[in-house]
Every structure is written in structure tokens, then in C-alpha cells.
Symmetry: C2
Subunit: 310 residues, 2 copies
């Protein structure tokens, strides 16, 4: 049931009303100091916060306001996917420069579409004047058995959903002033958080998972560090997208595919049949010092550095 | 139990490690994609998001980084207080310009102290490079019966905790280049979220509550709009701080006191005995069209406009 709380006067609240009109039934109870959230009994609550900053995470000449909204929401929802959680609710803080005011409805539309796609409701937020545009989304979800980066075990198979590299290809094209091809632009502007895929992995006994936001190379290192394990990855097995080299795929950020460590007994073909998404085995959790070992036709090679904000 | 997740390499993660060192046991489980949060069975989960933006909510020449951190956290925790909730967990997103890097530890210290003071744990967050410094805090809490802005009933007494106006006095002094007196600066730089006070009100059957962030005048209008009720307030009864006029008190934002609508039967003196905080009756919920009626010695006067971001 959509429940709208009457807001007092003020330009700020006019903006909230404007977004609520765009969101329709995707927004519930917005306008109180706190959102009240009910999750199923027996489930674990998981939460994640994710910021998107103009000229750091997105550029206005590369993406429409609606795409910027979708992408910011998809990035946050992707963290819930990594936990194998059911997306439930989102709180949205927008820092908005004056010049962005005419784009607020389109921005809200993109956020709302991503939330609706994931089955989550917008339950609250904050809007503030600023010099720089940024969106911070906090998403809440629930899972019977949430996955985390920890928990990889020796003998586990490392798997990656979908394909990798289109985001980097789009970014390279945009940076050089050319137009990305349509599959590349689609991944860059409209990434799909792997909600059902994460739930399948959690439900079928995966040991650990992480989403690919900074690039597979970085996420492998996080998975190894968090699980205190050694990962051995074969470059040839990385599911690079069409016309993308495995090394490019390894360094491509903002893909929002999932990397997971799963028992060798899990049926990969069932995953694909049930979710419609390819799942590629790219390596193993092996004995030895924690870290990542990258092999090219059996020969160890250096791992490219991932993206770092600082 | 403090549980630290090992983080992979990268400057961004060095910053997270730096903050974790400051936070000590106030941080739990930071470093996974999602935080896992357990609230007591039977309790309701409430959540709120609050942004603080440099040169909008704070100025670096007016406040130390530690005070900026405390104040941002206090503002978010104040929303939980208005719900009468027990603060439980916080997710902290920081947009950080390079020039702020040397101040990160002090900023984190201020945030951590406010969380420790409120009994909440830092469970996750995000840090991103930016041109403009901002902090977005999402706080989660629980309450057996959360309060909201809705629910005021005809006959209720309107009460305000503590005193009002010191924040505006400090702001006026700082803007004119003079030094605020110590009580004013204390409220401005180190506001105390009314955590226990909100819990007392919720536990004793208050009908509605809101925290005073934009100024009492604005919050009265929100309470009236959300509850669809008419509020009658006596200017003389507003608890203005020393040397502050009631009209200044009415317009003073970022006070983080609470405004509540409570049954006339509630014992105000017990509130003060048990929480140590004054509670002032300032008016009533009356019959009539929804809105706010301000009386000065029985004569109706205009309500000053509150702060609006847009």
C-alpha cells in the first residue's frame, strides 16, 4: 500500500513531492524522520551504502539523467545481489546543484525504475543543495543465509556470472570521443544487478561472493584477503565479452557481475537454466599463502591494478 | 565482538583502515559488500538518511573536522531519537576531496564519538573522491512502537525538550565574524541527539514526534501537515535559551531538540526527573483546519519562515 505523508511547505518539499509523483507505488511512507521497515521473520537484514559522484562515477555528457539514476541504483543493488539478498527498501540522499533542478524528475525516474526492477521500495531519503551532484543510496535487503566476501574454502570453484569488459570498452570509447557500440553502451549505461543470480548462489550453498564494481582483478584480491585464501585463476577462462581481451575484462569496473566461491559439486548448468545467465568457472581456491595467482596457459603473470579512488 | 574483514590493497582501503583504527570497537564488520544487522525480535526496524554538505551544512573555518563529524552524526541520530528508537547501526558514505585527506582521522573521530555516545555501531559505508566534501549517514534503530510525525490527536499537549535558539545565535555571531558565547557554540558545534528523551516519549505513549532540524516553526508545520491537525502554540511558552527571543528560538535550525504531541495525562516532571532534560508545554492540538496558529499574548501573529534548501 502506498502511504504518503503530507509534507509541510518549502521548496525542498516541493522537490520531494515531484519525485514521489515520478515514483508512484515504488515509494512508500516517504516524508517521516524515519522509515519503518519490516523484514520476514527468520531472515537476516543486510544493508549497504553506495555513492555516485558527478565527474567521478559519471559524466553528464556521457549519460542521460535517467541513466545516471538507474546506474547509481544498480550499483547499490548489486551489493545486495552479492549477499544473495532479496532487495527490500532504499533510502536515497541527493546532493543537488541548482543547475540540476530541471533534471530531477528524470534522475528520479531512473532510480525508481531500477528499484522497481529489483522489487525494492523507496522508503526515505534526504535532498540538499550542493555545489557538486552526488547520489548516495542505502539499500536494505534480507536473506535466510547472506553471503559475504569471507568464507571461501580450499577446493572451491571460482565462478563469474555473465561476461566482462563491455563497461571498460564503453569508457574507452567515450574518453576518446567516439560512440561505444550498443552492447558496450548498454552495459555501461544500464547495468543489471544480478539479483536472482545472487539469490540462487546463496540458496545453493555458495561459500562467498562479491560484486564486480572495481574490476575482477580487484575483487579477486578482496575475496582472497577477506577469506584469507589463495585464489588461482586462469586468464583463458575469464568470460570476456565479444572483441574484449581477457586482460581488459580483468580490469573492467562497474560491471556488476558476481564473483563467487562455490563448492565443486554445484551444478553450473542448472544455474544458467534457472536464471538465464551464463556462469563461468575461472579458477579455484587452492592451498597456500593468501593472495591471487593469475595463470596464462599455465604460466604465472602479473595482475593488472584495479581502479582506486585515492 | 569487533570483527574486522581483511581488505585488499589500494589507497581507498588504506583510508578505510585509517578510519577503522580511529573507530576501534565502535566499528563492526566493515569491509564487506553488505552489513548484516540483527535487531531484537518483536522490535520494529527504523532507518533514516541524512547528508551534510560543506558550505551548506558546515564551514571549515567555523568548525573543526572532529566537530563536523560529530555534528553530521548527531543530525542523523536525531531522526532516530524522534522515532523513540534505540540507535543500533550506521552506514557512512564520505565524499572526500584530496585537500581533506589529512583531516580524515579527525572527521572519523567525531563521527565515532557521536555513535559511541548513542550506543550505535558503524557497520559499513563508502568513500569516494569528490570535488566537494559531504557526509551521508544512514542510521538504523529499533523500537517496540516507533513514533512518527503522524498521529497527533485533538487535545494533545505540544511539548519541546531542552531550550531553543542557541544554534541561531552561534550562526549569527559566526556570520558577523564574532565569536559565539560558549553555550551557543556548544549547541552549534556539539548538539546532543535526544536519544533517551525520544525513547521516554515513545515508551510513555506520545502520539507523534519530530526533531528540530529546520527550526521549530518548520517542524510545527510538518507535524500539522503529517497529522492533518491544527496546532495552537503560545509564543511565550517557547523555551528560548538565555538572551534569545522567542521568535529567534522559533526560527533556529539544527537544534536537534524534539517536538512531540503527547496525551495531556503524561507527567512532564517525571520526564525531566528521569532524563535530566527540561520539557516545556508550548501549545495544544486543537479542532479546526490543519495548520499552525501562533499566539502572542492571545493574539494571532504570523509564523516566521523556516530554512529551505531550495
Amino acid at each position: 500500500v502506498t502511504r504518503e505523508i503530507a509534507l509541510g511547505p518549502g521548496g525542498e518539499f516541493d522537490l520531494v513531492r515531484q519525485m514521489l509523483a515520478v515514483w508512484g507505488e515504488t515509494a512508500v511512507g516517504v516524508g517521516s524522520d524515519c522509515a519503518e521497515i519490516a523484514i520476514p521473520a527468520g531472515s537476516h537484514l543486510v544493508a549497504s551504502t553506495d555513492s555516485s559522484v558527478e565527474n567521478v562515477h559519471f559524466r553528464r555528457d556521457w549519460l542521460s539523467p535517467q541513466q545516471i539514476g538507474w546506474r547509481a541504483a544498480a550499483a547499490a543493488l548489486s551489493d545486495l545481489s552479492a549477499a544473495g539478498a532479496v532487495p527490500h527498501a532504499a533510502l536515497i540522499a541527493i546532493n543537488l546543484p541548482e543547475a540540476w533542478l530541471p533534471q530531477l524528475s528524470d534522475l528520479a525516474r531512473g532510480i525508481g525504475e531500477a528499484m522497481r526492477h529489483a522489487g525494492a521500495k523507496i522508503v526515505g531519503g534526504d535532498i540538499a543543495r550542493s555545489g557538486e551532484m552526488s547520489i548516495t543510496l542505502t539499500v536494505l535487503g534480507h536473506a535466510l543465509r547472506p553471503l559475504s566476501r569471507e568464507g571461501s574454502r580450499i577446493g572451491d570453484v571460482l565462478v563469474v556470472t555473465g561476461d566482462l569488459g563491455r563497461s571498460a570498452a564503453a569508457l574507452a570509447a567515450l574518453r576518446s570521443g567516439s560512440r561505444p557500440d550498443s552492447p558496450a553502451m548498454d552495459r555501461f549505461a544500464h547495468p543489471l544487478p544480478r539479483v536472482r543470480e545472487g539469490q540462487w548462489l546463496a540458496g545453493h550453498g555458495a561459500h562467498a561472493a562479491i560484486d564486480i564494481s572495481d574490476g575482477l582483478a580487484s575483487e579477486l584480491q578482496h575475496l582472497a584477503a577477506a577469506g584469507n585464501v589463495r585464489l588461482r585463476v586462469d586468464l583463458e577462462l575469464i568470460p570476456a565479452a565479444n572483441s574484449i581481451s581477457p586482460l581488459q575484462a580483468l580490469g573492467s569496473g562497474e560491471e556488476y557481475e558476481l564473483l563467487a566461491a562455490i563448492p565443486a559439486s554445484l551444478p553450473l548448468h542448472e544455474f544458467t537454466r534457472e536464471t538465464g545467465t551464463p556462469l563461468s568457472a575461472i579458477g579455484r581456491v587452492v592451498e597456500g599463502e593468501d593472495g591471487v595467482e593469475l595463470l596464462h596457459h599455465g604460466v604465472r603473470i602479473a595482475i593488472p591494478a584495479g581502479y582506486s579512488h585515492f
